[in-house]
């Protein structure tokens, strides 16, 4: 007589705290926001169901859609700068750090990683001061090497402000890809590298032909982390340029656009319904991006088991 399988209650008990906290803090608010985006204020200020009308306004009314596409375009550029600058530099730093002959590797590793743990407020403020045309050290340093003419009030010019802030963000977060890739490089077994050396593949070609293919999955993860982080970004722009994301909305990204709409700003009263519609759109954009990566790229990456 087969005994009944015992109820494995401990699984539920141990999962419960995480599930409850995550549901209360993330899942319920997420669906609450998505639901709220389907409502709007009626004539007497009451909440009425309007279906997808908020989204129709957001994408159909030029007043809203111009701001939305501007924010989305800026966000895309913000992401492109990170992908082109932050991640290659992060990988290069990791490759250099993992060279066994490098002295003081631990010091460099820590120094490069420290900005990541600084608060946005400090980073935004410090860089504003460094780049300030009045008190900043940037004009003085450029002057010292005779390049004063290259200095411009970067944060105040429409054509440079967003790129400048993206580079500040790169400076802050370059430690994250560096650490992840560094860990991936260290996990490559010595046998593989020794075999490569036996075959005469050393130095740079060893990196390109042996190490890089082995760390591709890590690079994929970094790309998706960068994507999610950038499309959720808000703090740095808010700290450096304020909620109006000046000059002339040239640094306005989805996060600041959402903030202005949802919470209001100065005389503008907050509009939680349109704000939820923007938040819902951001969620959709990130969801699509992550899905494309997961199903289109992640599954095609070749993995090596050692």
């Amino acid at each position: 007589m087969a005994s009944r399988k015992p109820v494995r209650w401990h699984i539920g008990v141990f999962l419960a705290p995480a599930v409850l906290v995550y549901t209360a803090l993330m899942i319920i608010p997420l669906f609450g926001t998505l639901l709220q985006s389907l409502f709007n204020k009626g004539a007497a200020g009451e909440r009425v169901f309007v279906g997808l009308q908020n989204f129709a306004t957001l994408f159909g009314n030029a007043l809203w859609s111009d701001a939305f596409w501007n924010a989305l375009g800026n966000n895309a550029w913000f992401f492109v700068v990170h992908m082109l600058v932050q991640n290659p530099i992060g990988i290069a730093l990791a490759a250099i750090l993992s060279t066994p002959r490098l002295r003081m590797a631990a010091f460099y590793r820590t120094a490069i990683f420290i900005p990541t743990i600084l608060s946005f407020v400090i980073v935004g403020f410090v860089w504003k001061l460094i780049l300030s045309p009045i008190w900043g050290i940037a004009p003085g340093m450029l002057d010292a090497v005779g390049l004063k003419s290259l200095f411009a009030p970067w944060l105040g010019r429409e054509e440079y402000a967003l790129t400048t802030l993206a580079l500040v963000s790169v400076w802050q977060f370059v430690g994250i890809p560096m650490m992840l890739i560094y860990a991936a490089l260290l996990s490559i077994p010595d046998e593989v590298l020794e075999a490569a050396e036996m075959d005469g593949i050393t130095g740079a070609s060893q990196f390109w032909k042996i190490k890089l293919p082995l760390i591709l999955p890590s690079i994929g993860i970094i790309s998706i982390l960068t994507f999610v982080g950038n499309f959720n970004a808000f703090d740095l722009i808010y700290v450096a340029q304020g909620a109006l994301a000046g000059p002339d909305y040239s640094t306005d990204i989805l996060g600041t656009f959402l903030y202005r709409t949802f919470f209001g700003f100065q005389l503008q009263l907050g509009d939680p319904y349109m704000g939820s519609a923007i938040a819902g759109s951001m969620f959709g954009i990130i969801l699509i991006g992550v899905c494309v990566y997961l199903f289109g790229i992640q599954t095609r990456l070749r993995r090596y088991q050692f």
């Binding site: 300030s132 045309p133 004009p139 009030p153 105040g156 000046g246 002339d248 005389l267």
Partner: protein
Amino acid sequence: MTRTIRYALLTSTLLAGPALAETTLTIESWRNDDLTIWQDTIIPAFQAQHPDIKVIFAPSAPAEYNAVLNSKLSAGSAGDLITCRPFDASLELYNQGHLADLSDLASMANFSPVAKSAWQTDDGSATFCVPMASVIHGFIYNADAFEALGLSVPTTNDEFYAALDAIKADGTYIPMAMGTNDQWEAATMGYNNIGPNFWKGEEGRLALIKGEQKLTDDAWVAPFAELAKWKDYLGDGFEAQTYPDSQNLFTLGRAAIYPAGSWEISGFNAQAEFKMGAFPPPVAAAGDTCYISDHTDIAIGLNAASPNADAARVFLDWVGSPEFATMYANALPGFFSLNSTPVAMEDPLAQEFVSWRGKCESTIRSTYQILSRGTPNLENETWNASANVIRGSEAPEAAAERLQAGLASWYAPQQ
């Protein structure tokens, strides 16, 4: 410190309980900076006259005030007296029935229609807060610099630019301290500072609200055209200059003229080591009527649900008196009494600012009443447009057209 005060407040409420003859009034406010002034100066003065009414000043943090107040009012736990923000925030409370109508209060007669406009229904039929103070716009200048360069205080537009040119030619000082990084100075200390002279103060402002004038009319484009000329007189890299940068440039004596609001007075008095003076926005030709932005900022109203309404009205009536006005204006230089009775003030810079009320017509910022209710928000758009015009990235006419199109998109009288 705050803790001691909180305990003191708690204890005083407990002690006040048994004394039945005494009424206790609690004031809700965002001015936590002014706590000592209320406790040491204003409340004792009131209680000397009305020993039977006890007053407690219970402020919350400025950024949280609106949210805290709204929830307290809904829950029925708000104080008897409510400090009022100007225009729509307070109007909303009145429409919801949280603020009582105070139109029949005797001391309301002490205030001009402009002073009361920030706390009235759109048709002006009901006033629900007693005006306390306003802030005045103008220009503060470095008097030592003017003396060294042999400049006199400009009164007309031509003299204004002549002075700026002279300062620029000399090169010792940055002619004007302002940046466009934070955007609001461009609109508040720029557009709404010099604008009233062009749109003739209240006349233009009310015509705009009624839909008789448009933001694309000459009177409303001209201030933008002036702002466009300011570019040449601002410091290097003004595009990235922030509000605190501008304040520091001026108080360190590196800039000669500062487009200002009177709230700067106490800060500048503490920081600057040179003599300062102030002049109102210059007019087109000598002898023209001048208009100043005398912006209503703070008032106090009665919680409609207060059980102590009679005592609260006594207090509000006193707040409307010249006695209160004198006390308040001297304790906080730069926050000017809205009372029609002239108030004697000690601070020379504050005296200079307030003297303009005698020779110029007062108005308020054009974007604050009614016009910033919709989307896009006219005030926020004006920040953006003013900053663009000063930076030279948008032509004055184009900026005005954009603002007009935005306003017309939701405001019926402008359609």
